[in-house]
């Protein structure tokens, strides 16, 4: 039992666990809509795009949070704006932008001597969360979760049938940008835990695992949150006892949960079958597009 309680004697571990729980809940809740709206690659683009913002803020001695937030929001709005031109495919854009932003970030950091700080930007350092960071994480998470709760009904409709949403007068463009904005917030918070490279994993993996187990949106969100929190806390324990990188440990923990859920699901349910006019019916089992 003391294996579980031992780490808690340290103030920085207690702070890290609290941060991990909050970040896990936020990533999973928003990640649910990210996955269902097939925006997982957009999340990937945004997480990588934070790097130049982080580096510039670091070089100027400003707030890393603010730097990352500005870079991600600008990227999100930029992708949203450019993809309105139908000749610029959104997936090409999100394949392109993160690499450019990432290269820019590395270019900037290569002008300095320190690569130790680059490591924590890339891979996160949840064990180094300060009280100030924690307050910011709480604030951003509270605002995002309240927004998610208030617009839950609209997000549902906007995701399942955006055209119908538009015909009843919903401001769908505004909602699209809104989701991108809150995704940027979430990414910035997630970076604290697992870094720019791995944040997308925290948005997507717990949700993917939850999707395997349920057909109900509400249940799916709750399960995603449980998986994300388990991964975050579990990763911190692994990191504490093995001395491994905290961000990577969290992501590997999430991947293990997904693997376990997948095996349990495969053993207990039959595989998808062809029904309804020979069309492959994917049912609740897959996340892929047709």
């Amino acid at each position: 039992m003391h294996y579980l309680t031992d780490p808690f004697q340290y103030e920085f571990i207690r702070r890290a666990v609290l941060a991990a729980v909050i970040i896990g809940v936020l990533c999973a809740a928003l990640g649910t809509f990210v996955v269902l709206r097939r925006m997982a690659v957009v999340g990937h683009a945004l997480t990588h795009s934070a790097l130049p913002g982080l580096v510039i803020a670091y070089l100027m001695g400003g707030s890393l949070f603010a730097g990352a937030l500005i870079a991600t929001v600008l990227t999100a709005l930029g992708i949203g704006f450019l993809s309105r031109d139908e000749n610029v495919y959104e997936d090409t854009l999100v394949g392109m932008v993160p690499n450019i932003m990432f290269a820019f970030g590395i270019l900037l950091i290569s002008t300095t001597k320190s690569f130790r700080d680059l490591f924590s930007m890339l891979f996160g350092n949840i064990l180094g969360v300060t009280d100030g960071d924690l307050h910011l994480i709480m604030l951003i998470s509270a605002v995002s979760l309240v927004a998610l709760f208030l617009f839950y009904k609209e997000l549902k409709l906007f995701t399942v049938d955006p055209n119908y949403a538009k015909t009843i007068g919903m401001p769908v463009k505004f909602m699209h940008y809104g989701i991108l904005l809150f995704l940027s917030f979430t990414v910035v918070v997630g970076i604290q835990a697992v870094g720019t490279v791995l944040t997308n994993a925290l948005l997507v993996i717990p949700v993917a695992a939850a999707r395997l187990l349920t057909d109900r949106l509400g249940v799916m969100m709750i399960l995603s949150c449980i998986f994300a929190v388990l991964s975050a806390v579990g990763g911190i324990y692994v990191s504490y006892y093995l001395g491994s990188a905290s961000g990577a440990s969290i992501v590997i923990f999430a991947a293990l949960i997904f693997g376990l859920v997948w095996i349990v699901r495969s053993l207990s349910f039959p595989p998808p079958t062809k029904t309804f006019g020979g069309k492959l019916q994917r049912g609740s089992r897959s996340l892929r597009d047709e």
Partner: protein, 235 residues
């Protein structure tokens, strides 16, 4: 407190105006220069039942999408019960082709059908008991009340169509735009749809149906409009 989705206030219908009036309508998809619909005029009196006939690509869906605000209007204007669409979103419902819905979204049939009430609820208000009753009633009319708790990915083609029509009925609109409601569905669904359309007409609502099957259904409509290459051919 109500917070409608559209800033414009919903206005009562103008009793003298036709259900739908279109003048000189030109519509194109944003990236294309070519008009998908051009110089289109029509006036549909309230309570009529119209068939919109034409081959694929003739502009049937384009016309519907323009009427319900999914496509920007390049030329001309559209009035619904005497008002621009923004003043009467709740009076127009568009039944899309089934492929436009994400059927793998994890919600139940009832959740999807209740969405037909959102236009009345607006921001922040959750569906009430009365909204759920209306949705259940619509499902009953479409003979699919037994599917109420089913996940929408587990529906057959005919069931998907019935559920979508149930959502359209739930909105209780006065102008219904049905895009190929009978396309690729089983005989019993076709029968149910025909009966429901008959009922809707008896309630004095205006229905426009885009269809491939006009020859078999001729008797059901007051009038047919033929579309070809974005033009109206014969009336």
């Amino acid at each position: 407190m109500k917070f409608p989705y559209c800033q414009h206030r919903h206005r009562p219908p103008d009793p003298k105006a036709p259900a739908l009036e279109i003048q000189g309508l030109g519509v194109s998809y944003s990236s294309e220069e070519k008009f998908a619909l051009r110089d289109f005029d029509i006036s549909v009196p309230a309570g009529s039942n119209l068939a919109l006939v034409g081959p694929n690509g003739a502009g049937k869906s384009t016309l519907f999408k323009a009427i319900c605000g999914l496509l920007p209007i390049r030329q001309g204007h559209i009035r619904v019960f005497g008002h621009p669409l923004a003043a009467c979103h709740h009076r127009v419902v568009y039944l899309p082709q089934r492929s436009e819905i994400d059927w793998y979204f994890p919600i139940s049939v009832l959740d999807l059908v209740v969405m037909g009430r959102y236009v009345y609820l607006g921001w922040f208000n959750r569906p009430r008991k009365s909204d759920i009753e209306i949705a259940r009633h619509a499902l009953k009319e479409m003979n699919v009340l037994d599917l109420v708790d089913r996940q929408i990915s587990k529906l057959s083609g005919g069931q998907q169509q019935r559920v979508l029509i149930a959502r359209a009925l739930t909105q209780n609109a006065d102008l219904l735009l049905l895009d190929e409601p009978l396309n690729a569905v089983d005989a019993s669904t076709r029968q149910t749809v025909a009966e429901v359309l008959h009922k809707i007409k008896a309630q004095g609502k205006t229905v426009i149906v885009a269809t491939h099957y006009y020859n078999q259904e001729e008797g059901r409509y007051d009038k047919a409009i033929y579309l070809k290459d974005g033009h109206k051919c014969i009336i």
